[in-house]
């Protein structure tokens, strides 16, 4: 029954007392409150069907059905609160976990996810996503960036320059996300910045998703002739999503400055301290 929250002077994140999942984000500065449910899901990779023998592979994303399956409906949570950081550690399964983090003075919520090695002993290829579900009236529109420069409007089942006949309701609506993806109802904007290029979409009103990892058991017949099934260190992936809740008017300033800080992050170098005076010659 205990409601778990982490907060600083700008952001408050609330977690569901029963499931341990992120439930709500508040921008305390702008007095904005957005119920957000965030969790991890996976698409079952297609091995071909009556319509097409095309399998999901390294080049091709082709899930068997439109609805992804949850990795887990609840998370085991652990909390740490100090003067310098507040964290909620969420463990979804043996191969999926996340740390939701807030530092003092930070205007965004940091989600550090760790996914892998994805189990495929059931012979099902899995394409894992992190999905944010909100009540925002976003219609069919969402926005993704193009190499961190121009932000492009994306509309579900639509292309601006030709009449689209959608044959892949999930993959056909996935777009490259180089640094950010966002949804808005015209007043409030939910932006997610990525630390690497990923695929992303909004397949339902108020929803936003990013693919974080995938492991496939079949080759897609596009020339590689191997399934996408890394066994070494590539089997694990750790990355971060930076979540901003803001008004539409001020959101761009926030995500642009934060993206600079993420892409051109400070570099840390250590030394033991035993140094001699540097001589150019």
């Amino acid at each position: 029954t205990h409601i778990l929250t982490i907060e600083n002077e700008f952001i408050r994140a609330t977690f569901h007392p029963k499931t341990g999942l992120l439930m709500q984000i508040e921008n305390l500065e702008k007095n904005l409150l957005l119920p957000v449910q965030q969790g991890f899901y996976w698409y079952n990779a297609s091995v071909g069907d009556n319509r097409s023998s095309q399998t999901s592979g390294a080049y091709i994303f082709r899930p068997t059905r439109q609805q992804p399956l949850p990795v887990s409906r609840w998370a085991r949570t652990q909390v740490v609160k100090t003067a310098l950081v507040q964290e909620v550690h969420q463990n979804f399964s043996a191969w999926c976990s996340q740390v939701v983090r807030l530092y003092p003075g930070q205007r965004h919520l940091e989600l550090e996810w760790t996914v892998g090695p994805i189990p495929v002993t059931d012979s099902w290829g899995k394409e894992v996503i992190s999905r944010f579900d909100t009540l925002l009236e976003t219609g069919e529109v969402f926005y993704t960036d193009s190499n961190g420069r121009e932000i492009l409007e994306r509309r579900r089942d639509y292309r601006p320059t030709w009449t689209l006949e959608q044959t892949e309701p999930v993959a056909g609506n996935y777009y490259p996300v180089n640094t950010r993806i966002y949804i808005t109802d015209g007043q409030v904007q939910l932006t997610v910045l990525t630390d690497r290029s990923q695929g992303g979409s909004s397949l339902q009103k108020g929803s936003l998703e990013l693919m974080v990892h995938r492991k496939l058991v079949r080759d897609d017949g596009r020339g590689v002739d191997e399934p996408l099934m890394e066994l070494g260190s590539g089997a694990w992936v750790r990355g971060r999503h930076f979540v901003l809740l803001d008004t539409v008017k001020t959101a761009a300033a926030g995500h642009r400055l934060l993206a600079e800080k993420v892409v051109l992050a400070p570099q840390v170098v250590l030394s033991q301290g035993d140094s001699v005076l540097y001589n150019l010659w």
Partner: protein, 171 residues
């Protein structure tokens, strides 16, 4: 002698072949990783030389490429060390430094020798071992760097923050 040319070349090869998308045979992916690692070696020397020249002091600089998974042998074993934080942005940045450590109490000093607030947090790890991380906020000038010194403290009162576990069972 340091050089960034091999890393430039490796990056160019990787980008040309879309190396990060997973659309290569596994042995080719291993070769991409080999090229990147080979390029990073001389680049590291170049960065060390640049840092030595800028700071006017020559030291054995250590890079921790596995810091994202909380692995840094120097910070985990040394009783004292320096942390150089370089900011490539053209504006001042405040940045939370996180370093894996094996002890519980440290004194962190800023470039002026003034102690800054720090804390050691114990976090669960995927490798079934408890992991401590030292946290402190670094302030770094535009297109510049700050040097923070870290030393293990002898004070008997440890300030380790343990996690509160709250397990949930499915309803």
């Amino acid at each position: 002698t340091g050089s960034s040319a091999p890393l430039n070349e490796a990056m160019a090869v990787l980008q040309h072949h879309d190396a990060v998308s997973g659309t290569s045979k596994q042995h080719v992916a291993y070769d991409y990783a080999r090229q990147l690692a080979g390029g990073w070696e001389p680049c590291q020397v170049l960065l060390s030389n640049a840092l030595a020249r800028l700071s006017r002091s020559k030291a054995a600089f250590t890079f921790c490429p596995n810091l994202n998974i909380s692995i840094c042998p120097l910070s985990e074993t040394a009783s004292s060390f320096q942390v150089i934080v370089y900011n490539p942005l053209a504006r001042k940045v405040d940045w939370m430094v996180r370093l894996p450590v094996s002890k519980s109490l440290f004194v962190v000093k800023d470039p002026n020798g003034k102690a800054v607030q720090s804390s050691v947090v114990v976090t669960p790890s995927t490798e079934q071992r408890d992991l401590s991380e030292l946290l402190f906020s670094a302030s770094v000038p535009a297109l510049g760097f700050s040097v923070y010194s870290v030393a293990m403290s002898n004070s008997p009162a440890p300030r380790v923050h343990k996690l509160k576990t709250k397990s949930k069972k499915p309803s």
